[in-house]
Amino acid sequence: MSVRGQGPTSGTGVHAAPPADARRRIPLVYLVPGIVGVLFALLVASTTLGSVSIPPWISIAIFFHQATGGLIPARACGGLSAHQCYIWTEIVWQARVPSLLLALAAGAALAISGGSLQGIFRNPLADPFLLGLSSGAALGAAAIFVLNIGPAHQAAELPIAAFLGGIVPGAVIYVAATISRRGPETLILSGVALSTFFSAILSVMLLYNPTSDVSLTFWLLGSLGTTSWTDDGLVTGVVIVLGALLYLQAREINLLQLGPDVAQSLGVRPRRVVQRTVLLTTAITATAVAFTGIIGFVGLIAPHLVRRLAGVDYRVVLPLAALMGGILLLVAWDVAVAAIPPIVVPVGIPTAFIGAPFLIYLLYRRRTPGGSAAPVSG
């Protein structure tokens, strides 16, 4: 809601935002188990999808057998040869499930980032992809591949390089949001401009890629297919630790909704919260991008859905958005796997197919001119 929109001049005619009735929320006692349930059901169902056709019940049985450490016997393997059972177990447990878990972790990372950025900038369009954080991080990570610095894919250097790449757009959006007195669309447009710029550099890098590795192109469009349990552990760990640090600021992000001055009058240092949040979201986004490539719109959509369902308290929004982001990316991955078998399309493609119309919907829904991206002072 814009500052201007509060005046008596804003009117309540056709251009007014739809009334937001706070009572229309779903109580958390239903919402949390609901979201967790959907997430788990999707996870299990997703184990049945893949380029190798394995009967669904067998892949589900293998999943439960492995996930419980063998407590649930893999009855499905009963009619199979030991060799066949071994191969299918490997496919489900070492190829499919790690991808699914990466989808959850990366989805959570992007959604937490998007939610936090939307909160601090009071800008519903904020998203790590739209703000250029993702492409900056991708550029940093790609530099490792292309310039052949060190043994790529192995150490923590990919996320670090991605983080370094994300610092540039991070600094730019911080300055754009804190100094410029322009509307929220300006922030997004400068992000899009940055994003385009980084993509151009990335394209140049790919053209002169000495390894001519096609997987690099694939990775840039969003890929979950080439992951491992180790990578998953790294991403999950980073997301949990940095996400917790972001979560500790959730109450302050709430107060920033009243504008930087009122927030400060209530004991919050607006600039400090914004700085920390931009830094943490850059790091979280960079970690996800380092392992998945550029995946857009998850960070835009997930927090929106959560705010619709649960209200605007960021202490609730951030963790639920993480789960919702996992769900969204899982769905996108299933679509990527199942759309044109046996080809797995880059997962950034289905998210763009959903996300771009959603962005347009958001742009048209918020008709109030001017907008709410007041600069952060103090």
């Binding site: 008596p8 500790l248 909704q257 009122v262 400060q264």
Partner: protein, 437 residues
């Protein structure tokens, strides 16, 4: 918290803002239970003072103490537990409920990563009941009307449970009913909870009606402070707001209220910018002949005296409402020598004389006699007589005196517009009197 009797003590506060002096050398004190109206024209520094006390602007000089503690030495949260501030307008997040919004006020009382406890819930409930939103606490803030939003904002500020409440134009965008309701609520809360309320108000009548004390700022300086009766005067209204106002006393509340009559024309002759110089013009009127003339001259920035007139004459009442100097006589009696002496004093003090087409009878013939003596001593303008109405009820004596005045230096000026130009031309620059800055 200390038991100091003053809640807020501002000493010699100076704030530069955007390259200019936004506040200079402002000192004020406020105690518990008091409602102080901070008033002054647009841009006088009301909001700046509130923002400086809140710590949103850093003072260049001076100290701000709250219950004895220097706010410069307090952390943001400590400050937020002592001072609550509501700006004129503030954004509300999308889809925030009233309860959540008021609960934001508890932030300064919470541990860094703590959650609201029973004490906080109780404070929020008290605040919501105070603003009559306990029942509707789950409604969305966005769906509220302007008046309701103002109440919710007050609720957020109350939930902060601070000894000092600062409200910046809490009646902005409210209709008259809601204005009264809002300020009545603030005053009740200040009195019953012994809190100090510092309220920026540009509406002087609301300030006079609700404030225990009024603080007047003008161009960043404190120019007056005291009870509404002490502070509001025609001189202050002219100097600070540049208006001629009809200041009256409300018999039911014994409080002053004002009807703004005219804006003063600040293009008064020869004045350097920022300082007004006024010429004194004496007007001889009566019987309504000054009804157009006197307000016009006041608006043009002349200082006016009137006389001699009879009390309860419509021109005498007009002069009283405008607060001008007057020589007056008891109704239905001839003008006495004592009143003529007073008239002579006024003529002596003025720079020019304007004679309205006064209907003249035996009771006010003495005016003309006195005027004849002054015809050569002051520039004197006579407005034309009405053509269709009789004016001389003295059997020709008044008409003869008028002729003599015209021969002795008086000039007939055909219209009031021409008169203003005539005055600007005739009043010598050295005669202009400096007024208060």
């Amino acid at each position: 918290m200390s038991a100091s009797p003053t809640t807020l003590r501002v000493e010699r506060l100076t704030v530069r803002y955007g390259g200019r002096m936004a506040l200079s050398d402002v000192s004020l004190e406020a105690g518990p239970g008091e409602l102080i109206a901070l008033t002054g024209p647009n841009g006088s520094g009301k909001s700046t003072l509130l923002r400086a006390v809140m710590g949103l602007l850093v003072p260049d000089a001076g100290t701000i103490r709250i219950e004895g503690a220097d706010v410069a030495e307090l952390t943001l949260k400590e400050r937020a537990r002592r001072i609550a501030w509501a700006p004129q307008e503030e954004p509300v997040g999308e889809n925030v409920s009233i309860l959540e919004y008021v609960r934001f006020g508890r932030h300064p009382h919470l541990e860094p990563f703590g959650v609201e406890g029973p004490a906080d819930d109780a404070a929020v409930e008290r605040a919501l009941r105070r603003v009559d939103f306990w029942e509707g606490r789950n409604r969305g803030v966005q769906e509220l009307s302007g008046g309701e939003r103002q109440r919710v904002r007050l609720g957020r500020v109350l939930a902060q449970e601070t000894p000092l409440l600062m409200l910046d134009e809490p009646t902005a965008f409210l209709d008259i009913g809601h204005q009264l309701e809002a300020l009545e609520r603030v005053r009740t809360i200040a009195q019953s909870e012994r809190r100090c309320a510092l309220v920026a108000l540009h509406d002087l009548n609301l300030a006079a009606r609700f404030a225990d004390r009024i603080v007047v700022l003008s161009r960043g300086r404190l120019v007056a402070t005291g009870t509404p009766r002490e502070v509001l005067s025609p001189e202050l209204l002219a100097d600070v707001w540049g208006i001629v106002a009809d200041l009256r006393w409300d018999p039911t509340t014994s409080l002053p209220y004002l009807l703004p009559v005219l804006p003063l024309d600040r293009r008064a002759p020869g004045g350097p910018p920022g300082r007004r110089w006024m010429a004194r013009v004496h007007v001889v009127a009566g019987g309504g002949s000054g009804a157009e003339l006197i307000p016009r001259l006041a608006q043009e920035g002349f200082e006016i005296s009137v006389g001699a007139v009879h009390l309860f004459d419509s021109d005498a009442e007009l002069g009283q409402r405008l607060g001008v100097a007057m020589a007056t006589e008891t109704p239905f009696t001839p003008i006495s020598s004592r009143v003529i002496e007073h008239l002579e004093e006024l003529l002596e003090a003025c720079d020019a004389v304007v004679v309205a087409p006064v209907p003249t009878g035996p009771a006010n013939l003495a005016n003309w006699t006195a005027l004849r003596e002054w015809a050569g001593r002051r520039p004197m303008a006579l407005l034309p007589l009405p053509s269709e109405l009789p004016w001389d009820f003295t059997g020709g004596a008044a008409a003869r005196l008028r002729e003599e005045i015209l021969r002795g230096g008086g000039e007939e000026v055909p219209t009031v517009d021409r008169l203003v130009a005539w005055l600007r031309e005739r009043v010598p620059a050295e005669a202009l009197h400096p007024r208060l800055p």
